[in-house]
Symmetry: C2
Subunit: 299 residues, 2 copies
């Protein structure tokens, strides 16, 4: 069982003719509601790939009976939720104008409860963007742990990042997050890589690099028509972790992550076009060759 | 039966620390969802005052079974809805920062259907903010008609405003709307007043003025602690129209409108603190003296 800690969120993605100035209004041409939240995206990705997964999230009054809950149940995602009365499930409002400029308003809502919640012991956990302090406590108590700082990278103090780095097995980050972590920690990129067993740095459409056991492996992206890059990182992690618990080598796990992400970017929304294991395997074969049987676990 | 034509809308009112610049994000400290839409606010006000009212609105997939629908049914508001599959009920997202600056994003959603809908014949109708062309067609076919241009005053062409002015009995407008109508029509404020039987111009906390039969009557506001001025104009119209169909004189109708509005501004939200007829009458008595029996209708 993989546990994923972090946000379950509802994304309202709107197109507007122009973004408003202060004390002005604008008309929304189109608004779509998508299921999101980094942790929930990863859990959905793992579930679609056939993995056993439980989501550790904070939800509000609006979750029970919602379409999002029905979707999670359909996927078979376990729920270890802090349900916080009088709050909303975290909600993001994203507005994009015709020139591609954006404004985002994010409501933590129920996720504020992370700060005061007891961290469970979790044997195999990924910590996605959430309350830094809660993630520290989870990291300290966990068995295997992986981590990505996500959009909340700015909220981590030096001490919090040090605690997490000292307690994780795998670090995922994009180029922006790597820079911010190095700034906060006051160390170089090379030093950051040395401090974790395995580091995976993603570079959008330029592929990803795996750093493990003193070696470096570059993994190119699978070229697809990108409709929306949002959720690519979460899908990558879902693919990696699903493959990891099945016993694949870290390089193969990265390739499976890359293939999984290639599906998600083809459609708008983070959970709208997740592949199952067969679809992933088929596209893997086309780009990286036949997917070998996994090693025995623990190799 | 009073018919009210215009928006039924859902208002998301959020507090943020700061409004975002382009390509930035901000955190929502608090988000509350209120029932709104100018027409629905007026209908709710009339229903709470004991009047018979039917709302002519456009709604989307999200309305049936919603809390808003349950609230309208509880109030006994008749629904003459254009239900538009694949759309949302009109929704407004308002963000206010600590300095009081605001940004508003408004989704017309289902209300786009007004443009292509047949206008019903309505014997006693108020037209609130909605599609200008639909309101013109309603005005031309109506019996008694009143009108307020609301936030969509900018969308009316000269010809549309002329059609409406020629077909209404009562015009409601605030100072901003009066200026904009005069600009669009290319006439003076005095000429605008002369073109309608009855004009009521509201001036926020400075009261309102009734212009009818060549005379002018000033009505002061009822002084209360104002928590949120939103919805005051709609409550005023609800009070006026409720009193008008009961046969009160226009001056008394304005006073009843003012008293009704004084309740609404005491609480955040447009439909959260509407008075019933007794509560309105009691506050009326305190400020304007005993509410006399109405004239016989048609006096």
């Amino acid at each position: 069982m993989i546990h994923i800690v972090g946000h379950t969120a509802i994304d309202h993605i709107s197109r507007v003719a122009h973004l408003p100035e202060k004390n002005c209004s604008t008309h929304i041409a189109d608004r779509q509601i998508y299921f999101g939240g980094g942790a929930a995206n990863i859990a959905a990705g793992i579930a679609m790939l056939g993995g056993q997964v439980t989501l550790v999230s904070c939800t509000g009054d609006d979750f029970a009976g919602s379409e999002y809950e029905r979707w999670m149940k359909k996927l078979g995602i376990g729920q270890q939720f802090f349900v916080v009365p009088g709050t909303h499930t975290p909600t993001a409002f994203m507005f994009t104008d015709e020139g591609g400029d954006q404004m985002t308003f994010f409501e933590w809502g129920a996720s504020k409860a992370f700060a005061h919640s007891d961290a469970p012991f979790l044997p195999f956990v990924h910590m996605a963007t959430a309350d830094p302090d809660f993630n520290c406590r989870v990291a300290e108590r966990s068995g295997f742990a992986s981590f990505d700082p996500g959009q909340d990278v700015f909220y981590y103090s030096k001490e919090q990042l040090e605690t997490i780095i000292a307690n994780i097995d795998v670090l995922f980050a994009n180029q922006h997050e790597v820079r911010q972590m190095c700034d906060t920690l006051g160390i170089t990129r090379e030093a950051l890589i040395r401090q974790v067993d395995t580091a995976i740095f993603t570079m959008s459409s330029d592929g990803s690099t795996l750093y493990t056991k003193g070696r470096e492996h570059f993994v190119p992206v699978v070229p697809v028509k990108c409709a929306d890059p949002t959720g690519a990182g979460d899908a990558y992690r879902a693919g990696f972790l699903s493959a990891y618990v099945r016993g694949y080598t870290p390089v193969t796990c990265c390739k499976i992550g890359t293939v999984t992400a290639s599906f998600v970017v083809e459609h708008v929304g983070c959970q709208t076009h997740l592949p199952d294991w067969n679809a992933m395997t088929e596209r893997y074969r086309q780009h990286f060759g036949t997917l070998d049987a996994p090693r025995d676990k623990g190799d």
